[in-house]
Amino acid sequence: MSNEYKELARQGLWKNNPGLVQLLGLCPLLAVTSTVTNALGLGLATLLVLIGSNITVSAIRQWVPKEIRIPIFVMIIAAFVTCVQLLMNAFTYGIYQSLGLFLPLIVTNCAIIGRAEAYASKNPVKQAGFDGLMMGTGFALVLLALGAIREVLGQGTLFDGANLLLGEWAAGLRVEVYNLDSQFLLAILPPGAFIAMGFLIAIKNVIDSKIAQAQPQPEEQNIERVRVNFDAQ
């Protein structure tokens, strides 16, 4: 793997993560992550749309007039979202219902149009597709982490309802971490999502600063200067 692809992977998964650093697409990020299953469903949908739109935008980048590029990007993204929505409607109807409005709302997800504008419209198809894969994976991982935190705190389970997304075999994936008599409603409600998101960003920043501290510091030469300008006083 060449250096460019490595850099793209690093940017998408960590350094320029759409969820944790760019803070794009917060609306679906906060709204549907109450369970891991929902988060996984939306993450996969976003990933597919992002790869498709990045490849298409990059492939037609020579013929798109600069003045009307945004409407064209939006139409491409909307086409892919419609495809994904119809596919999910056909094959994973349960998750399609529980995602509800947030599936078509992927069209307005700034993370996707942001990548189309910032990367795909200027780079060749292969890199653009890989960039879409990495950015989408980064976004899906944040969704998954948030979904896992909120599901464990809120209901004490993991992968509840995974059979809706992955088929009947996945019903056995459901893990009951601990049993609650009463749900911790804050974790399931949107304010809990904001708080959990804040904690995730804080953890990322802590890790980043730990890494920065571990790097060898370039030694600075101390130059002592003597002030000789007596007139100023």
Binding site: S182, F184, L185, L186, A187, L189, P191, I195
Partner: protein
């Protein structure tokens, strides 16, 4: 020999944070005593639990932040937050409610924003709202006053109810809340709200035994206790009289207007004053110097807004009492209020900027 010449002011007051906090904690004692007298040991147990958890949480965060642990841990602010939280919890709520509440108040509401003096929200009230939203069942376990309960609630019974969910004889809080006549009792504000929703007039709702002779058995004395504590604080100059006066006046005017327009569907002014967390909010919560407005005019606006919100939420909102919600909403608007009520700087003409 060196003379250390300090700049003015040369007379210092010895008022440190810890002394002020201690005074405020002492001032809550009359109200806590009334709570103990009418509702038993529950709130005192919750206050103790909250203080313990707040201490542990504060110590952990201060250690993580490399702060001066000894000075900041014992400045009394964590204890005061825990006391206020413990007072506002239902007496029979399970133990983890006060533990989660105190930890949330200290770690998230106070320390994550930078510690004492930097928190935009009142920690005790933010934690209370968090608990109320997260655990609606446990947070509405208000018991009727002891005199109306069919079973005796001793200290050991309260303790075992809080920790195991059942009394020593195996009664659940729901059974404890049942009146001799076999119906579950709620707080006066809740009973009135339910009654009005069902189409009863206020005077018909007031026939329920929770109201007693005046505004609610026990509740009037609890509020009276906090009123006395608040007056002590004002006399000691620990809080400014403007905030509670403005809050109570605003609530009085709102409820008076409603009462004059439609006495059948709105409670009297004094009912609003002496029920729920009214006096606690007026004297102990809204006067928080950190999360409130700063100038005198700002405090008047701030507290009047709180009074209006309390009235509106109590009358038209989904929850029976509203002090915590009103305080949080006012905390949010405090910077804006401060912006528009800046006092005139000395030497500048009024009217020009």
């Amino acid at each position: 020999m060196a003379f250390w010449i300090a700049s003015s002011p040369h007379n210092h007051t010895q008022n440190e944070t810890s002394a002020l906090m201690r005074l405020v904690i002492y001032a809550t004692l009359p109200g806590i005593f009334a709570q103990w007298y009418f509702f038993g040991w529950g709130n005192i147990i919750h206050i103790a639990l909250a203080i313990f958890s707040a201490f542990v949480a504060e110590y952990t965060v201060l250690a993580l932040r490399n702060k001066n642990i000894k000075k900041q841990l014992f400045d009394g602010s964590a204890i005061l937050t825990a006391v206020l939280l413990g007072i506002s919890l239902p007496a029979l709520a399970p133990w983890w409610v006060s533990v989660i509440g105190a930890v949330f108040a200290i770690v998230v509401v106070k320390q994550l924003y930078g510690g004492l003096g930097h928190n935009p929200f009142n920690p005790a009230m933010a934690a209370y709202v968090m608990l109320l939203i997260s655990f609606p069942v446990q947070m509405t376990l208000w018991q009727p006053p002891l005199s109306l309960m069919s079973m005796e609630l001793t200290f050991s019974n309260t303790l075992s109810t809080i920790f195991t969910g059942f009394t020593a004889e195996g009664f659940s809080p729901d059974q404890l809340r049942t009146h001799i006549d076999g119906f579950t009792m709620a707080t006066p504000l809740d009973t009135l709200k339910t009654g009005t929703t069902m189409g009863l007039t206020v005077s018909e709702s007031l026939q329920s035994p929770v109201f007693g002779d005046y505004f609610g058995v026990g509740w009037e004395w609890i509020n009276f206790g906090f009123l006395i504590g608040g007056l002590i604080l004002i006399a000691k100059k620990a809080i400014n009289w403007v905030t509670p006066a403005s809050f109570l006046a605003s609530l009085f005017i709102c409820s008076l207007i409603a009462f004059l327009i439609s006495p059948d569907s709105s409670a009297s002014t004094m009912f609003h004053w002496f029920n729920g967390a009214c006096m606690l909010g007026a004297f102990f919560i809204l006067t928080d110097p950190v999360s409130g407005a700063t100038s005198t005019r700002g405090r008047i606006v701030f507290a009047a807004l709180a009074g209006l919100l309390v009235y509106l939420i109590r009358s038209f909102g989904g929850y029976p009492d509203a002090v915590a919600f009103a305080v949080l909403l006012c905390n949010m608007s405090a910077p804006l209020i401060d912006q528009y009520t800046r006092p005139r700087t000395y030497g500048h003409q009024s009217g020009t900027k």
